[in-house]
């Protein structure tokens, strides 16, 4: 796919580089030379240009791109650029918002998707600090989630059947992330690698340190979390 990222701060440059790493064509744009020079070696093309200037923006031929990402922190510029892009007929625009009101305006002027990187990261950090044994969290629909949670130590050595996880907690283990000790390069150094066990059978035995990927109602997941003594 073809992407254009406008604004190469920390967020924009991470988006641009990751898309390029994933094998996509990426045009990276900023009005300053330095950020463009920094990202250029990793992306398809870098351009120094003030995207708030309609003429300059038009010359980029962005209608052909799958997504244009407006990764600019400045409220006025990000709104203006989003308006210009949609007027030009760019099919899909994703814009970064700094506040709920900013997001509201971006949607009104035609942004197809709005992200709040700082709010999202803030929520992640808060969850991670409050629940160190929960490694990831995805809300499926209000009330139901998928979480990655460390298997309590007392689970080790027992099978899913023995543990009766579904009866006791009401949640389903959909996968297990297991850390397997291994010898690295040349056999000189020890390490471990993670292997996923997808849809484990009832006979699967839990190992110490396993991370359980469980699906269930939030209040049921909460019961499992409490075994760790997390409040």
């Amino acid at each position: 796919m073809q992407f254009c990222v406008i604004g190469l701060g920390r967020f924009g440059s991470a988006v641009a580089r990751t898309l390029a790493d994933l094998g996509h064509e990426v045009l990276a744009v900023d009005r300053e030379e330095e950020p463009v020079a920094e990202v250029e070696p990793y992306v398809t093309q870098g351009v120094v240009l003030d995207a708030t200037q309609e003429k300059a923006l038009q010359n980029l031929g962005l209608r052909e791109f799958d997504w244009v990402i407006v990764a600019i922190g400045d409220l006025e510029s990000s709104i203006l650029i989003t308006v210009l892009l949609k007027e030009m007929g760019v099919p899909r625009v994703l814009a970064k918002a700094l506040s709920t009101i900013h997001a509201k305006i971006l949607r009104k002027v035609g942004a197809d998707r709005v992200v709040f990187p700082e709010r999202d990261m803030g929520q992640r950090v808060a969850r991670s600090l409050a629940s160190p044994m929960v490694f990831d969290y995805l809300e499926l629909t209000p009330g139901y989630s998928i979480v990655e949670i460390a298997a309590p130590r007392e689970f080790a050595g027992q099978t899913l059947k023995d543990l009766r996880i579904r009866n006791r907690f009401g949640v389903t283990v959909i996968a297990i992330r297991r850390k397997m000790p291994e010898l690295k390069e040349g056999g000189s150094s020890l390490d471990f690698k993670e292997i996923p066990i997808i849809s484990p059978t009832p006979d699967e035995e839990i190992h110490e340190g396993d991370i359980l990927v469980v699906l269930g109602k939030n209040e049921d997941i909460e019961k499992l979390r409490k075994i760790h003594g997390e409040e």
């Binding site: 992640r124 950090v125 044994m133 000790p181 150094s189 020890l190 471990f192 110490e208 340190g209």
Partner: protein
């Protein structure tokens, strides 16, 4: 003599580690670092065991210790970066 002892113990600990007997590996590694408090590898392996058990704070302390003994310990640095980051 003492050095050979430590080497022998380290090999034993690795054997248990690779066979997923973490309790036994840990017990022996504690002897290793007691007999030779400069064993960066001993602390690194204790760090790995703590990381496998999802004890990040403990793992971090061990990896930092290994790096203080051997600042160019690449594996210890990689694991330290990993346990201190929030994903």
């Amino acid at each position: 003599m003492e050095k050979n002892d430590v080497r022998q113990l380290l090999e034993e600990a690795k054997f248990y580690f690779l066979n997923r007997n973490l309790d036994e590996a840990e017990r022996i590694l504690n002897q290793v670092v007691e007999k030779d408090p400069t064993s960066a590898e001993g602390f690194y392996l204790l760090g790995l065991i703590a990381e496998i058990r999802n004890r990040r704070d403990e793992a971090r302390a061990y990896f930092e210790k290994a790096l203080s003994l051997q600042p160019d310990y690449r594996e210890a640095q990689e694991h330290l970066d990993r346990v201190t980051e929030i994903h």
